[in-house]
């Protein structure tokens, strides 16, 4: 890839990035603008605490229901790694186990 193509910004990608940035700014400003003088109910607090995890686990849910035994086994190993290790070792274990197990099965 030359520098020319590397510096390209696709209009649809730019639109998506700006839309995301606006959505993110909205979440940052809302607490201050709307809820600043009010107390957030404990219930709302619990819901907001749980929400990011619900989204993250939904995004990776297909990996939990894969039809390939090698992928399921690699996923199980990656979960074990994530419980014990920091990011980089976990990523390496995930990639290596998926690569090796797919080659075997």
């Amino acid at each position: 890839m030359g520098l020319g193509t590397g510096m390209t910004v696709h209009p649809m990608t730019l639109l998506a990035i700006i839309s995301m940035a606006c959505a993110t700014f909205l979440t940052r400003a809302t607490g201050y603008m709307v809820l600043g003088n009010r107390e957030l109910s404990p219930r709302m607090r619990e819901v907001l605490d749980a929400a990011p995890g619900c989204v993250l686990i939904s995004v990776i849910a297909p990996h939990f229901v894969s039809g390939h035994p090698a992928d399921l086994l690699a996923m199980a190993l990656t979960i074990l790694a994530a419980m014990r290790f920091s990011l980089l070792p976990t990523v390496i274990i995930g990639i290596a186990s998926a690569g090796i197990l797919r080659a075997i099965f």
């Binding site: 998506a16 686990i57 849910a61």
Partner: protein
């Protein structure tokens, strides 16, 4: 990501020394950002992001969780509504954080407060709030130091944007080497993020609901609907369980 502040000194008053103090406190977090940033940049380039588009995303959005989610769901052309919806959901915790910071922001102009909030990430928020509480107990005014906040923000922001860009530049080289298991990097990153959010089984039950609903939706309905279906059912279950 939870990081312990290494600096236990009494918070100072001057703005420039406050900024240096903030930058110093941010260093361990900056180091922690580097692997995440490299992985994000490499994955974005694998999804077709150019070298210019990656720092544009991470510089304008500056919220890692939503950026990982967006890259994971990225299609060409991108599905705007899905990306915005997922971004709102992943970053919904900012509402809570902004509300907690609001009492300390009242003494700044609205414009300045909004600029500060534009740079608020989990770590900046945690450090700034801890510092403000410390200064309040020793009676330093204002409790929330603009210099300290700016120092922490500058360190974290620049680290994130520069190293995601570097990851994008190195991505094509790394891509071929790791192609066969490379897709497993995503769940690996997310699982580590989830472990960081883990607050006991009871609090995490909505995650299980999300996982089951998203998994079933993925198997039964084509497209990326499994994300909003899983996320929303988990959030509804959190709402219901919170009453009990």
């Amino acid at each position: 990501m939870i990081h312990k502040s290494p600096d236990n000194a009494i918070p100072t008053v001057g703005r420039s020394s406050d900024a240096l103090r903030g930058l110093r406190n941010a260093v361990p977090i900056m180091i922690g950002f580097v692997p995440f940033a490299l992985v994000l940049g490499a994955q974005a380039s694998a999804k077709g992001f150019t070298l210019a588009e990656v720092p544009l995303l991470t510089g304008l959005n500056f919220a890692g969780g939503s950026e990982f989610a967006a890259i994971g769901l990225w299609t060409s052309p991108p599905h705007l509504l899905l990306l915005v919806g997922v971004t709102l959901l992943v970053n919904s915790r900012h509402v809570l954080m902004g509300a907690a910071l609001a009492p300390y922001l009242r003494r700044f102009s609205r414009h300045r407060a909004l600029v500060m909030l534009a740079f608020m990430c989990d770590e900046t928020w945690a450090l700034a709030l801890a510092d403000a509480k410390k200064r309040k107990t020793v009676g330093i005014e204002p409790a929330l130091s603009l210099g300290y906040y700016a120092g922490v923000s500058a360190g974290l922001y620049l680290t994130w944007v520069i190293f995601t860009g570097l990851g994008a530049a190195l991505g094509p080289i790394l891509g071929d080497v790791t192609r066969y298991g490379f897709d497993m990097a995503f769940p690996a990153v997310f699982l580590v993020l989830l472990r960081g959010m883990w607050a006991g089984f009871r609090r995490s039950r909505p995650w299980l609901v999300s996982l089951v609903v998203a998994g079933l939706t993925y198997l039964l309905i084509p497209g990326a609907w499994y994300v909003p279906a899983g996320a929303l059912s988990g959030i509804v279950s959190a709402w219901v369980w919170a009453r009990a």
